[in-house]
Symmetry: C2
Subunit: 322 residues, 2 copies
């Protein structure tokens, strides 16, 4: 394997030392798929595995970023450091913040114990989940006690990004009928903690009852029944309960051994994903550079050659070239 460049080593030293600017730079490198980003992760990887990683998912408008902001305040009061990563394109963290959020976030920006960062959606060709894991690893190596990931999800099971978290929190609000239906139908996986935010809404009790009804139908996974926590994030109400629920879940998965198992499975999965993405880029390059491959694609569009045969033929051409 190639030796790590002096520049990467220097940045790695600063990052592990807790330098916020080094962390920001490192994440940009990873996000831009810069080779130095990969060198960095390689360098600091042995330092990872210590942060508590919590993922927040839920429909847009549920108040995830406000909740995370309130949670950060609480964790700072316990003198724990935090890094937050938003990959929700509809989040104020990502978009530049509404007035109210900006005020709340400014207070965090001035605190060296808080690092907030957003990442852009990479589109269908993938890689976002991989870039996210690399960013989480960098935050972890930077010695942050907590890493909080914000993502958007409205019921699909295939939200890979959230798999990098140890504890998954689903944030709903009164009116989240679709998400509850998705939970009920088994289309959405049951999270570890469920938050009903904006719990001053008159329909809160109905939503809580519906959620508990869904949870009562399923068997607890590894002996854990997800607690339903009511919050009013904008007023800091219920945040203590949320922190307690996350802590309890963590204690539970450590005791059961599922934390190690989950991380093990995710890391192995990640290696396979990275290898696949790399091969996919290779095939794309082959197609782009090879007029014969282009012609095969044209034949598919003209319905002269089926997609399966074209795929096999392109793989054969690639094998011949290497």
């Amino acid at each position: 394997m190639a030796a790590t460049s002096p520049a990467a080593v220097e940045l790695a030293v600063k990052l592990v030392d807790g330098d916020k600017r080094a962390l920001a730079r490192a994440i940009s490198l990873v996000e831009n798929d810069d080779p130095m980003g990969w060198e960095l992760v390689k360098e600091v990887f042995p330092r990872t595995g210590n942060a508590k990683v919590t993922g927040f998912t839920g429909p847009p408008g549920a108040g995830k970023s406000t909740l995370i902001s309130a949670l950060i305040k609480n964790l700072r009061a316990r003198d724990e450091t935090v890094a937050a990563l938003s990959i929700d394109p509809s989040s104020p963290f990502t978009q530049g913040a509404l007035l109210g959020d900006r005020i709340r976030l400014t207070e965090h920006f001035l605190d060296p114990g808080v690092f907030i960062r957003s990442m852009a959606n990479r589109g269908a060709l993938g890689g976002l989940s991989e870039a996210t894991l690399q960013a989480v690893l960098l935050m972890d190596a930077a010695g942050r006690d907590n890493v909080l990931i914000e993502t958007v999800g409205v019921g699909q099971a295939e939200v890979d990004v959230i798999d990098h978290a140890d504890t998954i929190v689903l944030v709903l609000i009164p009116g989240s009928g679709d998400s509850v239906q998705a939970l009920k139908a088994g289309v959405m996986e049951i999270p570890d903690v469920i938050v009903v935010n904006k719990a001053d809404h008159p329909m809160t009790d109905t939503l809580v009852r519906e959620i508990k009804g869904v949870l009562a139908l399923g068997n607890p996974v590894d002996g854990w029944t997800p607690p339903v926590v009511q919050t009013q994030a904008a007023h800091g109400i219920g945040i203590e309960d949320l922190v307690a629920a996350i802590d309890q879940h963590r204690a539970h998965i450590i005791e059961q051994g599922t934390l190690q198992e989950r991380r093990r499975r995710n890391l192995r999965h990640e290696v396979l994903e990275l290898a696949t993405i790399s091969l996919r880029h290779e095939i794309e390059a082959v197609i782009a550079a090879d007029p014969g491959a282009q012609e095969l694609l044209d034949q598919v569009v003209e319905r002269k050659l089926d997609p399966g045969s074209a795929a096999r033929e392109i793989l054969r051409r690639r094998a011949d070239q290497t």
Copy 2:
């Protein structure tokens, strides 16, 4: 390329002739990743491209299968043949049907002009989208005028399956707050037609107003503004309007040339996907058979080797072996 086996040719002849049992058998072969399934698709592929393919997506409980059932009745009255494919694990088509649905579906089962089929979810390793396309191609080659695909979606953009449709219909019901938020936030792509089902609900007007508000914010794509159709599928109300909206969309995309463009893009994308999946299976096989690769994965779990380096090393080992 290998010659097609006589058994595949025989099945292909029956399938193209419109034999429902041959079609059912062919889809099973594709679903089970049987090599004969691929042979079949190869054989009949030149016969495809004629069916009108419409995809239905939306949260569980929105009544998609009831709507499709009502639509089938309408299309049959126009003397058009139909094949419906459900890949929604929460659908009664997939699960075996509730009493009411079963009665409605039985009437279709006896009709040679209607073919209904469900496919199981293939899980995270993928392939469902590919199996779906193959099934759609088979239905198309079988001479069905219409292919209807039912899938579940609650706002994610990454519902690949639906990409195989020419026209995408999003089905919502009053209470679909999360989906509307997802549309508003740009997390969910704007579909071609929006149905508000169960439109006898008192909150219908509010939902329609919200949807139109969201649509008014965006620019029409290729000069098309999605119509919002109100239906009561269980009572057959509004189905004529839905058929008219789908027909209008089809006429529009043919006129604009976007139908050919969309199919062209999807077929090319499909070839790349099939090639990638094939390579991924190869890597999995390499890892499973190579103790050295297993050891690399163990080193990642022990945080001695980073995932990126492990992926590169596994690809190198694979290249050495071939």
